[in-house]
Symmetry: C2
Amino acid sequence: MMNVELDNYPHRRFNPLTNSWVLCSPHRTKRPWQGQQETLEDKLIPEHDSQCYLCPRNSRANGNLNPNYSNTFVFDNDYAALISNQPKSFIDKNDNDDDESNRSSLLKVESVRGECKVICFSPKHNITIAEMTEEDIIHVIQTWTKIYQNSFSIPFINYVQIFENKGSIMGCSNPHPHCQVWSSESIPEEPSKELKSMTKYYEKNNSCLLCDYVKLEGNSLKSSDKSSQQSIQQSIQQSSQQSSQQSRIVYENNSFICVVPFWAIWPYETMIISKSHITNLDELEKVENGQKDLSNIIRNITCRYDNIFQCSFPYSMGIHQAPVDNMNHSHDSHLHLHFYPPLLRSPTIKKFLVGYELFAEPQRDITPEYAASILRKCSEIHYKNSIH
Amino acid sequence: MMNVELDNYPHRRFNPLTNSWVLCSPHRTKRPWQGQQETLEDKLIPEHDSQCYLCPRNSRANGNLNPNYSNTFVFDNDYAALISNQPKSFIDKNDNDDDESNRSSLLKVESVRGECKVICFSPKHNITIAEMTEEDIIHVIQTWTKIYQNSFSIPFINYVQIFENKGSIMGCSNPHPHCQVWSSESIPEEPSKELKSMTKYYEKNNSCLLCDYVKLEGNSLKSSDKSSQQSIQQSIQQSSQQSSQQSRIVYENNSFICVVPFWAIWPYETMIISKSHITNLDELEKVENGQKDLSNIIRNITCRYDNIFQCSFPYSMGIHQAPVDNMNHSHDSHLHLHFYPPLLRSPTIKKFLVGYELFAEPQRDITPEYAASILRKCSEIHYKNSIH
Ligand SMILES: O=P(O)(O)O[C@H]1O[C@H](CO)[C@@H](O)[C@H](O)[C@H]1O
Ligand SMILES: O=P(O)(O)O[C@H]1O[C@H](CO)[C@@H](O)[C@H](O)[C@H]1O
């Protein structure tokens, strides 16, 4: 289809990873907004908060004292959604799952064991990934990798979900920089869908879906940004959508690309994808400067995010990688990170994924190509550190 | 599995309609909340607001004047996400969709035509469905039905999605009571999933999935609520979850049941399901008192919602019914309404479906059975009208 039509008319795009469609209505940001505005969080936050249960030396809900940690710190979530000790009778019942002779096909249930951990990124209460150094972020990546590695030896853990909720708008209840790891017996819905799609694609094309997607985006016309003379604010205000001829790549280094996927749902959604075919964080070791390059690209995109509206940009981030079920995942997994940020128009106006999105289909208002062009224009230097 | 285990241990439940799992962690509401609190909207709202583009006699974005309407009022959305006039060349390209020889399997797109309408429920700016009379709500149902009926004759419309976003927390930009209808050429993701599941179920069981589910919930032990002596607030505070032996039915009349589905995601999610096998609103005519009973149960559940926390309870509501594509849907469709309300702990604390939910699997903190028991305790008389 012609790019100019994608810039101007409603259309659906297909997400080959989750096997589902998203509705794109490029002309729609012109409507006025009288709805909810978020409150800005830019009050001064101290480097150490005596009330914070994540700061070094403070005590947590269970009475334990946090150590005087200097880079990352891991502990078991005091309010875990998944726990390891379930009654044996409960676990054993899973074996009857196939008995669909009676009500069980409509009231199907299975027990699930697991673990929930919290990882503090830094002892500093008032910092975020966007403002951390690449060296600091490497510590975080090494902590993620270690937890992932260790999970192979826990018999009731088959999948490890690492995710960060950043900002109160994304349900984060504490500004101290941290993420969570929920590990489970079951392979959850979203990674299951991706595994299935990757398998199907591999069987059909004898190649990896995400390897092919990286190549495709890399080959796309890297025309110089025609509107690059405009400021970001001008571009956002004009919603100048003449951009789908352009690349969806926001940034790349030797090992990774960061792209607004063709099928993005959230306004400024991005994916960081490994250029080489590695299936998990552990295999980063095989890649020259692998951890360093991942750190570099995470810092780069989170910093650009903060620079869009000159605010601490909220998002949920999730890492998808191979299950830890000791099966062969060389063909159905490819290490990647998703960023889902909700802001659409300003630091206080988000995109609501509500009625139509929940009952019918996700709907977006700006094209992914336009979002990528805005992100490319954002500086790699954090706005707080740039000289005005 | 034993009910006591479902009340106390994390488990997954299966949604047969969407063919997906939800993680249930019944023990988790005990954690403290330091995160975002919503602002209460209970400021006094006038019955007519001169600034509101939905009130009678006011002018809209396109300059048109609203009529002096007395029950419902329908108009075309001035900022429609779906439009009917796309270039022919764009539409025709859909035919090439199967050409997966090149990039198209990873960059798949299709044009989509459609229409977006807004329906005002009432001329009164300061009322909601929960406070409207059954007679008023019948007008709304008749308006829905008419739009649905008329869509059969529009060649480029195959699916009609009626939905309401209520409350600013659910992205609603205007408190004036209204809903939307987005009608599209394509059958969107969520109804597609349901159609597929219903078909599969019918082929296997020679009966309708939702007919069977209604029977199942109807037969479930309707024990009198053991904790019915407690007030709602006591029950919520104690998170007393000893309720899974109990029914998930909140309310029923001759034609409909309202149930917290076994696989609910949102804390107080409910479904209104027709007891007889009708596939759409139009067929309500075949049911004795069909429209009246639907009106009765909609008023009942929305009123109970407001009474949980004595506030105007936000939600997104969506109606699922047969597509209007002139195919036979007697076996894959069954009229039902979903309510997705976000509040969890109080009028200002909602459940965030974020990191784990977006990247792994939806997760809930209270059991559906517990939610049903709370809703059953709520009065059918709106708190604003009850004498204290
Ligand atoms: O059309 P409205 O009410 O302005 O918009 C609201 O509902 C739409 C359909 O669910 C969403 O896409 C928007 O994000 C939301 O703000
Ligand atoms: O564990 P937290 O940070 O308190 O909780 C946050 O993330 C969880 C996982 O995405 C969600 O289930 C919660 O609704 C959210 O508030």
